[in-house]
């Protein structure tokens, strides 16, 4: 007798379709925003949209929203580590 998957929660097709459409919309926004002359903050807007897309993929496609809290803590630690790397690097680069 083998264990069956205790996590019986399955995400509906409808939810997945909504997430997919949302991702396509955000892609369209990214492309059109890059056409406008926002100068330096264009990059920030593009990155924010990319983060929004990643949140959709992570929470729904990768199921994070429905996982035990420990998974979200895992990913938070990873992202914070990476952000620290960026901040430290730029605190050097910015003042050269």
């Amino acid at each position: 007798m083998s264990e069956h998957n205790t996590e019986s929660h399955s995400i509906s097709y409808g939810t997945y379709v909504m997430v997919w459409l949302g991702l396509l919309a955000l892609t369209a926004i990214t492309v059109s925003v890059s056409g406008f002359e926002f100068g330096a903050i264009t990059v920030i807007i593009a990155l924010l949209i990319a983060v929004a897309k990643s949140l959709l993929v992570g929470n729904y496609f990768m199921h994070l929203k429905f996982e035990k809290a420990i998974f979200k803590i895992f990913i938070a630690v990873c992202i914070v580590t990476f952000l620290i790397m960026i901040v430290l690097t730029f605190s050097d680069l910015s003042f050269r």
């Binding site: 399955s10 991702l23 890059s34 990155l47 990643s54 035990k68 895992f74």
Partner: protein, 209 residues
Amino acid sequence: MNQQLEAVVDQPHIHRDDTGSKMGMWLFLFTELLLFGGLFLLYAGYRFLYPDGFKAAALELNSFIGAVNTIILITSSFSVAMSITALQKNQKKLAVYLLVFTLVCGLGFLVNKYFEWSVKIQHGIYPKGPAMDNFSSGEVMYFGLYYVMTGLHGLHVIVGMIFIAIVLGMVIRDKITSTNFQKLENAGLYWHLVDIIWIFLFPLFYLVH
């Protein structure tokens, strides 16, 4: 009859730890995130130092193909996620079709990437290529990063496709079922990571203005 009963009773109890398996996959994904993270950090640093070079070099890229590839990968993530729900609902045929579709998307992405790279290489735009002599330092850095990052990403697409193909085989042979599908989920997780990496690669390389 007695022998049959004995055979059933003597079966060792197979312990499965799906949560542990999932955690293991996530931990591996973090190593991948930091691998690409380091490359993104290089990109950020050099773009900061050579803003004009990056802007000029980015014009060589075709944003239309980049956008199409983004849509391809997003749709492939959608299909692999749906395949899990399909399997959970015991819709095995649909799950198989969705996984095949995911592989087709991956192939489409790679074909596009092949054309993109061929065009550049034909124009002499590659590390140590003839066209690079006329480029500024910033442009040289941009293309170096372009080849390494999209190349490494492409390798991950190939690996992801192999992973999904293997899992597809297991679904077909009922080694992965509606109550035993962590391997499929793990393959999906890897594929979503490949998608997320591209979600960042696209605006940073193709939409520099």
